[in-house]
Symmetry: C2
């Protein structure tokens, strides 16, 4: 959807302009305070001649200009008539603050929203809302925002979209954040979250995208936007509800969003390098960090520097818990630090400088610069809690010393981290911010933001298959058809998945013939879509040796299964060579109705249900991605060999995972599930074998 | 050690009193600002007649009073002479700010600290420090503190001890914290962390103990203090370095503390119900929460209430990730809320009240009180981000409505939680604080503090064996002696651990005789302290049947082992019945040189090294504690039965764990390790069996 008239209108009408407390008043006030050019901003109210000293027109028709954007501050009943009047003057977009729509969770509310959507389509208008707070485009100086919020001097690189008005206001209140655009999108019935995302991905002034999402409405466009952002290396930071069962319930009810499966969303984030955060402060500090940095670190090696042993220990522990890497300093760095710092400093990373440098700006700058110059260090941060009363010589020393070090090693980012929440000295914060030095919040949030940054830096789009396989609408609502193991194997094999199908014997003679052609012991299993639990039905014989035993087993299996499952249609007997035992894993596909096939890999064997050591990832995928899946298992050490054993054939397993992903993508509109349980993975060079396979299709 | 003269002196001398920038000046300023009674506080400096308008004496001898406490603001060389002069006037305690001791990590520093310790002992003085920041006793209005910090109006229930001066100053700067005592203890060479802990445990004015610890110096006293605190239900909140390898290295080098094993310290905290926090903000918010509450919640069911759907979702997810319980509201509560709130509210826990109550104080109070009255709710918190500009009617409404609800349901605690860090409106903070309503910091820290509170509430001292088994000094430095399996089993059995010893056959005839007495197949294993790896040496035969086979196996084992291990002294052959296979676990003891025997329980079998699913806990322990250990395993579901199997015999396993713990306590001064690997745990009622056992003693 084209959002030019909505987010970059040349002219704008505020309907319901007023000086009286309410949305109309705040919108006018915001417009007057933050619109760069008011010449084509028009107020409309039937009762007033002027509002806040500006001319007010009695109705839309009286406005002496064409209209790009209509901002409707009036109530729900007035919305569609107003849109119709504005459309007559060329209006292509509207902001609808009014509530009373789907968020009411009533049939009436749903009906009104449907009517609004139809009107928008009929009038060809891009409508923000309903039940929204509006937006501010700080790049172009355009403001249609329903609530009081500080937006002056806040133009910058963060594009922020929120489905919640409250969260949008709180973000706008963060003194250190600078925005290109901030949208409180409300119900997003017409213009959807994906439209705003697309706008921010393409917008050159938006360097960091931050989103608060309750759900995804258009999965194919959503993933396509993520692909473009990944290719541009533009960070996307997402706070999405639904990590918990209660959070999913909240999201599903609030603004009627489809919350979707959380594990699937998590997997998508990993594929597209999206930074998923856990709460508002995490969103704020991560977006703020990314936007304040003038350059990204070249790698993921952090140096931590503090002024006391206690703080150094906290940085060591908290960084470790967050997953930060603190590389050792080179001997050269340590030697240089020993020249500079007192002997009772702690000459390691994290570094305890002692408090001495806090009294000596040059000493501080030299010590910090020495650390930053270390070849193992990609980014540094200094732990120093800034308080309201951080003033005077000491504080100035600290700020200037840190800035001096940063200017001396301008190729590597440097940040300041606080250990506790305090009201903080505004002058210091701005002094750092203006120099491009982010001030991070209390330890845990700071460490989380740095870890998000490290993950973003480590992500390489070229290692990922950035394609989606969104299935047809309605998948999963039809009838399930469970293929027999033989048909499952054939379907997979015909597509190109490398696995043995075995042979299907329809008669005892065929069974004897096939058995004669296979060296070693055999496994024989009933073929029937009506017998999913083959062993329980007496449909399996293992370790059958030679044609004669195979023939006898053929008759025996048929007889037993017929007795136990008299209704089942039996198609024959599957004959395979017995597989040597290997390390057991599971490999499967779950086809998500929103985002399509998800590959599942996990530890198999008797403890599979107890340990639940499995990982999900969207198909299609590259071998690098399959390898990363295996590495992310808790039991990943198995692949490297245990108890002096050899490593496993990870290459062969990855090939199978990739092939299964391709199979799933090709069958995305019919495949419901695929289960390979177990897959035997043998030692390196010995390959893998699929011991059982089951495909479930939708008819 | 008696700390009365140190922490509650009747008279005090400040040596080095001065108006010139430095420790002496700040100490005098602090004394004048915060000492309740200055009449027996004396300044000493050879050059001044007055300091800050008060009389100054030329030397200690001139002070016209007996002296309880000497505060030494002068440098290291002056310390011992000053102590000697003061001792002549009855002085029993000193605060030594001077540095230049063990924190220098030089032989000279260590020597000086040793001299100081000897002087303190000789003069019978309780010395705080050296290299310390002093303390403030806010209960009694006594202050000997070397740095500027706001301490006015801060008397309250938190006793805080810190080994780091920087962290102590930051805690004192937290506007919401109220202290009984705050100590920056420095190197703690003479008065140790355990002395301060003991003081705070016994001090009636200290309701919450908060500590920043680098290490424990006196394990037996430390655990004894923890026991007393647990029995008194006085919360102990500890920030201890050493969660990470780098953190342990930092702690070990900084102030020369013995950091100890982090897993052991964690286990101790679980046993004694100590709240272990991760960083300064976590320490601060947890201690602040505990101290502000006028009553503890009766249980661990939280109600979360917010003003928007987005914030409600964040509370749901963040609470879930932190491990909070959000019980469902009763139907009665939901019905009552439906009467009060608009229809588009979210009537669940977490509750989305919508923003409507924020404009209507009574509505807010009624909705909140309805939630608090729910029988499933033990404590509530409302998500509302307080900012500097949270002023005016809206903010007053919120504060008064929340206070009104709290006054209506005074039996249950209520808190306010912020979603982001901001400078916060001081008036609001105080308005809540004064009413006994804690204001929690940004989400993640708030959730962590609430979880700590829940854990403290759920802890029952009567379920824990609150005894320590600290071993003799020097354990682990002697020679290791690995007992044979037979001797290991006999030692355990003789103590009372219920396990089969099997029979030791010295001759073929004995082997035949013993075999005749055991029904079913046998296992036969070589007995020799020189053959720890019995299987590798050919020293094991399984599934031996009957006396005849047993006799042949006897000769065969001896022959094979003699050939492979010609130097080994062979003591005979152990004959046991073959054990039926069961679910495999490991059970062991690691004797920690500081804290004594730690019981280790974990998942056994082939994946043990890969999954590392094990838990550590201090001996002795009760059956409840053994059960909690098993429940804390990732694979705990095994005990309840998997794949339709029966539950396992947890009772029998717990008995064995308890017995092994008792064995370890009895042998705490000689036992190094015990390994039972595997222990077979059978189905409920079928008991357990120890398949192998190995004891390592120190000679």
């Amino acid at each position: 959807m084209d959002l030019q008239k909505l987010l970059r209108p040349r002219s704008m009408v505020i309907l319901g302009a007023s000086e009286k407390y309410g949305l109309g008043s705040d919108t006018c006030r915001n417009a007057q305070a933050f619109c760069r050019d008011l010449s084509r901003v028009y107020y409309v109210h039937p009762k007033y001649d002027t509002v806040f000293g500006r001319k007010c027109y009695p109705d839309i028709a009286s406005v002496p200009d064409s209209i790009d954007l209509l901002v409707i501050c009036t109530n729900q009943r007035t919305v569609i008539p107003a849109m119709e009047q504005a459309a007559a003057k060329g209006c292509g977009a509207a902001v609808v603050y009014a509530s009373g729509y789907s968020e009411m969770r009533t049939p009436e509310g749903l009906r009104l929203e449907e009517e609004l959507a139809q009107a928008a389509q009929r009038l060809d208008m891009a409508v923000m809302g309903p039940n929204c707070g509006g937006y501010v485009n700080l790049t172009d100086g355009i403001c249609s925002f329903a609530f009081a919020a500080p937006m002056g001097g806040k133009a910058g690189g963060i594009g922020f979209f929120s489905q919640s008005g409250q969260l949008c206001i709180n973000m706008l209140n963060c003194p250190e954040l600078r925005f290109s655009l901030a949208v409180s999108g409300g119900n997003c019935r017409i213009v959807q979250p994906e439209d705003y995302l697309e706008y921010m991905v393409e917008d050159e002034d938006t360097r960091v995208i931050a989103m608060y999402l309750e759900g995804v409405k258009d999965p194919a466009r959503f993933t396509d936007c993520l692909r473009r952002a990944a290719e541009k290396r533009k960070p996307v930071v997402v706070l999405k509800m639904g990590r918990s069962p209660k959070g999913r319930a909240t999201a599903a009810s609030h603004t009627g969003s489809l919350a979707g499966s959380d594990g699937v969303f998590d997997a998508l984030c990993r594929k597209y390098g999206v930074i998923r955060v856990e709460d508002m402060q995490d969103l704020r500090s991560t977006a703020g960090l990314l936007a304040t940095l003038r350059r990204l670190p070249a790698g993921t090696g952090f140096a931590s520097v503090s002024l006391s042993g206690g703080e150094t220990g906290i940085c060591a522990d908290s960084g470790y818990l967050a997953g930060l890497e603190y590389p050792d300093f080179t001997p050269r760095t340590v030697a240089a630090l020993r020249e500079i710092l007192p002997p009772y400093a702690g000459f390691a990373n994290p570094l305890d400088m002692t408090s001495m440098p806090s009294y000596d700006r040059d000493l501080l700058a030299r010590a910090l610069a020495t650390v930053m110059e270390d070849e193992n260090v990609d980014m540094g941060f200094i732990g120093w809690t800034i308080r309201e009363d951080s003033t005077g010589d000491f504080a100035q020393n600290m700020m200037l010393g840190i800035r001096q070090a940063y200017e001396k090693v301008p190729s590597k980012p440097l940040a300041v981290m606080s250990f506790m929440e305090f009201s903080r000295n505004r002058e210091l914060l701005e002094g750092f911010q203006d120099a491009g030095i982010p001030v991070l919040p209390s330890t845990r949030y700071a460490m989380a933001a740095l870890k998000h940054l490290a993950d973003f830096v480590a992500y390489r789009p070229e290692d990922h298959a950035l394609a989606s396989a969104v299935p047809r609408p309605g998948l999963g609502q039809g009838k399930r058809r469970i293929l027999s193991e033989y048909d499952s194997r054939r379907l997979l094999r015909d597509f190109g998945v490398e696995l043995d199908t075995g042979a299907a014997a329809a008669t005892r003679r065929e069974a004897e013939e096939y058995a004669a052609g296979i060296a070693g012991p055999l496994a024989m299993k009933i073929i029937s879509e009506d017998v999913p639990h083959k062993t329980d039905a007496g449909g399996v014989r293992l370790n059958v040796r030679g044609p004669k035993e195979a023939g006898a087993a053929f008759d025996d299996i048929l007889k037993t299964v017929r007795a136990r499952c008299p209704q089942a249609r039996l198609e024959g007997i599957l004959i395979q060579r017995m597989l040597p035992p290997g390390r057991e894993f599971i490999l499967g596909i779950q086809n998500d109705p929103q985002f399509g096939p998800m590959v599942l890999v996990g530890l198999g064997g008797v403890l599979v249900e107890v340990l639940r050591d499995a990982v999900l990832y969207p198909a299609p995928l590259k071998e690098e991605e399959a390898r990363a899946m295996l590495e992310s298992l808790r039991s990943a050490a198995l692949f490297r060999g245990v108890r002096g054993g050899n490593p496993l054939d990870v290459d062969a397993f990855c090939r199978l995972i990739v092939q299964v992903g391709e199979f799933a993508v090709a069958h995305k509109d019919t495949l419901l599930e695929l289960d390979m349980n177990p897959v035997f993975v043998y030692e390196a060079g010995q390959g893998i074998a699929v011991a059982d396979a089951l495909v479930v299709l939708e008819e």
